[in-house]
């Protein structure tokens, strides 16, 4: 009656063993972490320092080494939620198209003049309104189809004409595609910048349409992180037209007026079209100029090097402005032809600033600006205090529950307590394997699971007690107990699981961590209660064959 086939027994004990094995590294957290860091260093640099060798040896390679990630609230670090101004890119695109649009409209209608418009549109007054159809036709030739997941067909620009004005704007499909590209680029560049600093396991993920969540454990403060990723780092080199102290000066057509980064009240009039841009850099590193002041050395790729070389050869004696994020860092005079495409940027840098700038230039410019909607810094000591408090509370809670169970159900309580221990091990094992994150509310989730995990066992034990009164013999009572308690266990846990799933989908950060531990806890507690405890009860029963049982 109480037969459980051998294969089932093997699977059940196998899963338990797997749970314990995958959870084990968490007991030696520091050691395993050192081991993993050493392996990462080996992969990155191809070599290890003696300390890293020792750290690697401290944990055997053949044992599982996945750990539960600690959330920011436990480990300390910085959390930022940034909003990317994806519209910025529309403006850039429109400005970029202007020359070509102008030429085509001019060819078709004689004259073309750009007039006032919202930044994401291009409005052109044409010379001869009668030739509107030709003008529109000419501009439409510039369009190319948008390639998206959902299909091809839409063109990337919309061209409309009204009166004597042609309006060009990006189509909806192109906007969506552009937004995606902007977000992907921003994510990539932020990732590169954060990686350059070399911290452990940063989280950089897109949230919704235009937001990016950045979590970096171990960094001192959110302000530090913001300085690193909040800078656009758009580097351009422009010919200088003139220098002025008048902030209101009219730069003239095709020129721009930009302030100096170092000298208050000094402005430069520059040609708007850059000679070369930071996109053509292949390397940047902190350096020193001939006077020993901090500077940033850079090197262009072949195309950039050629443009740079040609321009310097033709413009010896002229001023050449180096512009970073719309500020002129410096405007040195071109002394001689610079072949080879490398040089240095001088300015009033500190060593730290030049190092940072080099990092930013290497990683590349962000395609659009960002605003920060949320920022949190949690100190490592606070996290450690929370871990310690959570650990003590969990042990006390666990001890109390075990006492309660053993006092109430005797041997069956002991079995349920063993199952509870396995349950906790499996929670940690699963969290480690899926790369789950343990947060402070997550610890509360585990404590809650400790309390609730015994529920399924209690349901069964109470049911067995009841069945003992009517059933024929203990074996039948145990069987009926499990059978009849099942629907209550299933219903009760599915409803709890529903709330945990909803929490997971709507929550973020620590709350999501809580939802994960809670759902994992529900699954493991049902498994341990209806398989593990039952197997233990049956095994005990087979060995003892008692005539009566006391639950």
């Amino acid at each position: 009656m109480l037969h459980i086939p051998l294969w089932k027994r093997i699977v059940i004990w196998g899963l338990c063993a797997l749970g314990v094995l995958t959870a084990a590294p968490n007991l030696f957290y520091g050691r395993v972490e050192g081991h993993n860091d050493a392996l990462v260093a080996l992969e990155r640099n191809g070599a290890m320092t003696p300390e890293q060798e020792a750290a690697r040896a401290a944990w055997p390679d053949w044992l599982p080494s996945n750990l539960v990630n600690l959330g920011l609230d436990l480990r300390g670090g910085a959390h930022l939620l940034a909003e990317v101004h994806v519209e910025d890119v529309y403006e850039d695109r429109m400005n970029g198209m202007w020359t070509e649009v102008r030429d085509r409209i001019r060819d078709a209608t004689g004259t073309a003049r750009r007039i006032q418009s919202p930044p994401d549109e291009l409005r052109v007054r044409i010379g001869d309104p009668a030739k509107m159809a030709e003008a529109i036709e000419a501009v439409r030739d510039l369009a190319s189809p948008v390639v998206t997941m959902t299909g091809v067909g839409q063109s990337d620009i919309e061209v409309t004409g009204e009166g004597d004005t042609v309006t060009v704007r990006l189509s909806e499909a192109e906007r969506a595609a552009t937004d995606d590209r902007t977000m992907d680029q921003s994510l990539e560049i932020i990732r590169r910048r954060v990686d350059e600093v070399g911290t452990r396991e940063p989280t950089i993920q897109r949230q919704g349409g235009d937001r990016i969540l950045i979590q970096v454990p171990g960094i001192g403060s959110a302000a530090e992180l913001k300085a690193l990723i909040g800078t656009t780092a758009k580097l351009t080199f422009h010919p200088v037209v003139s220098r002025t102290t008048d902030a209101q000066a009219a730069p003239g057509l095709g020129n721009i007026l930009l302030p100096s980064a170092d000298v208050e009240g000094e402005y430069y009039v520059l040609e708007q079209a850059p000679v070369v841009t930071g996109e053509e850099l292949v390397d940047a590193k902190p350096d020193f100029d001939q006077n020993g002041r901090p500077a940033v050395g850079f090197r262009f790729n072949p195309t950039g090097a050629r443009k740079f070389g040609d321009y310097t050869a033709e413009n010896i004696g002229q001023l050449f402005a180096i512009v970073l994020d719309d500020e002129v860092i410096s405007a040195p005079q071109i002394q001689s032809h610079i072949p080879g495409g490398s040089g240095i940027i001088t300015g009033r840098f500190t060593v730290e600033e030049s190092t940072n700038l080099a990092v930013l230039l290497r990683a590349g410019a962000l395609p659009a600006e960002m605003t920060f909607l949320e920022e949190r810094t949690i100190g490592p000591e606070l996290g450690q205090d929370s871990i310690d408090a959570g650990r003590i509370a969990s042990f006390v809670g666990l001890a109390a529950v075990v006492f309660f169970m053993v006092a109430s159900y005797g041997l069956f309580g002991v079995l349920a307590s063993v199952a509870l221990g396995l349950n906790i091990a499996m929670i940690f094992g699963i969290l480690s394997s899926i790369g789950g994150t343990l947060t402070l509310p997550g610890i509360a989730g585990i404590v809650l699971t400790i309390g609730m995990a015994v529920d399924a066992n209690v349901l069964v034990f109470e049911r067995i007690r009841e069945e003992m009164k009517t059933a024929r013999g203990p074996a039948r009572a145990i069987e009926l107990g499990y059978q009849k308690a099942m629907s209550a266990i299933v219903d009760a846990n599915i409803t709890t699981f529903i709330t945990a799933a909803i929490l997971f989908f709507v929550g973020s950060g620590p709350v999501r961590g809580f939802a994960v531990t809670l759902s994992v806890g529900i699954v493991t507690s049902v498994f341990t209660a209806i398989f593990v405890t039952r197997l233990m009860v049956v095994t005990w029963f087979e060995h003892k064959r008692p005539k009566t049982i006391t639950v």
């Binding site: 909607l373 949320e374 809670g397 509360a444 400790i450 309390g451 529920d455 099942m486 009760a492």
Partner: protein, 326 residues
């Protein structure tokens, strides 16, 4: 015969519905009182929902709230609240305070300058002060978070309503959901009464309470469904009483173990999650109460279709899980 701790005697015949109007009336009063409290006193919203900045300070010197306030006042940051935090887990030289600064007009992004100036001002008062955590939320995100929270609670309730309806009868679903609304309202009420900080983590706690309370309700419903089939001629009221009595020892046992574990965390878990754990502990108590005195009362008032066999054929609705698991 081994010693057994028996919290509940083997057989109980407590008449849970003897005072049904009184207990239900009590629940209604509690819910109304909670609503009035929230309207009159409001909730002590954390920055998650209101925007702004909180700074946690820690120092070896005792916290001097007046001096802190005087140091920050010249910065002209609007509403600033400073509270000292006490906790049994703190060491003797550990003095902690929480400073909350309202969201600044016209800024979406949080400016590091403000935080730096506050930190500098406090360090001038007490050089040993450190800042273990600084959190800022802009008004845009906080507005969205409120909606997310409301949607989370509503969708969880709706999902449970549908599930119970499918597995049981609509009367059970209504009873369960009324009990859930009761639990959430009364929990929000106690947060208003005690003015405990209400933030995103508390929403997580509310959802957990929903999960726990429904767990409890479902276990008794399950037994009720079984007994309704077994005792076809018995009065509904008596069947319900029997079911609650039969599951009473399980209810006490599970609530007991869960409460013990949570109380350990409440006392020893530190101040950072105390609000969260408090919400859950309170919710377990309220949830256990409501599954008997709210959910069952509602089912009792609504009545239940007793003649299962006629419409549903041989197998009563939704008991198919019960036979599985061989």
């Amino acid at each position: 015969m081994a010693f057994r701790l028996k919290l509940v005697p083997d057989e109980t015949k407590i008449d849970f519905f003897r005072y049904a109007p009184a207990t239900f009336g009590f629940s209604v009063v509690m819910v109304l009182a909670s609503i009035v409290l929230v309207v009159v006193m409001g909730l002590n919203f954390g920055i998650d929902f209101r925007g702004g900045t909180t700074i946690r300070t820690e120092s070896v010197q005792p916290v001097d709230v007046g001096a802190y306030r005087a140091a920050i006042a010249p910065l002209d940051l609007g509403d600033v609240s400073i509270t000292e935090v006490f906790d049994p887990t703190f060491g003797p030289e550990q003095n902690v305070a929480m400073i909350r600064i309202q969201a600044q007009e016209g800024t979406e992004a949080v400016t590091p300058e403000i935080i730096n100036s506050v930190e500098a001002a406090l360090q001038a008062v007490d050089p040993s002060v450190t800042f273990p955590s600084v959190e800022s939320v802009g008004p845009k995100v906080s507005g969205e978070l409120i909606w997310t929270a409301i949607i989370a609670v509503l969708s969880a309730t709706a999902a449970i309503l549908v599930y119970i309806w499918l597995r049981f009868e609509w009367q059970f679903a209504v009873g369960a959901v009324v009990a859930l609304i009761h639990d959430v309202t009364v929990t929000v009420g106690i947060f208003s009464l005690l003015q405990i900080k209400f933030d995103l983590a508390i929403i997580a706690a509310l959802l957990t309470i929903l999960g726990y309370s429904i767990n409890d309700t479902v276990v008794v419903f399950d037994r009720l469904r079984e007994n309704l089939i077994k005792y076809k001629k018995m009065e509904l009221r008596d069947v319900m009483n029997l079911s609650v009595n039969e599951t009473l020892s399980r209810t006490v046992m599970t609530s007991g173990t869960t409460l013990i574990a949570l109380i350990a965390l409440l006392v020893l878990g530190g101040d950072v999650i105390r609000g969260f754990v408090f919400a859950m502990t309170w919710g377990i108590v309220v949830g256990t109460y409501s599954s008997v005195y709210v959910a069952k009362n509602v089912v009792l008032f609504l009545g239940v279709k007793r003649d299962w066999s006629k419409t549903d054929g041989d197998s009563p609705a939704g008991t198919q899980f019960g036979k599985s698991g061989g």
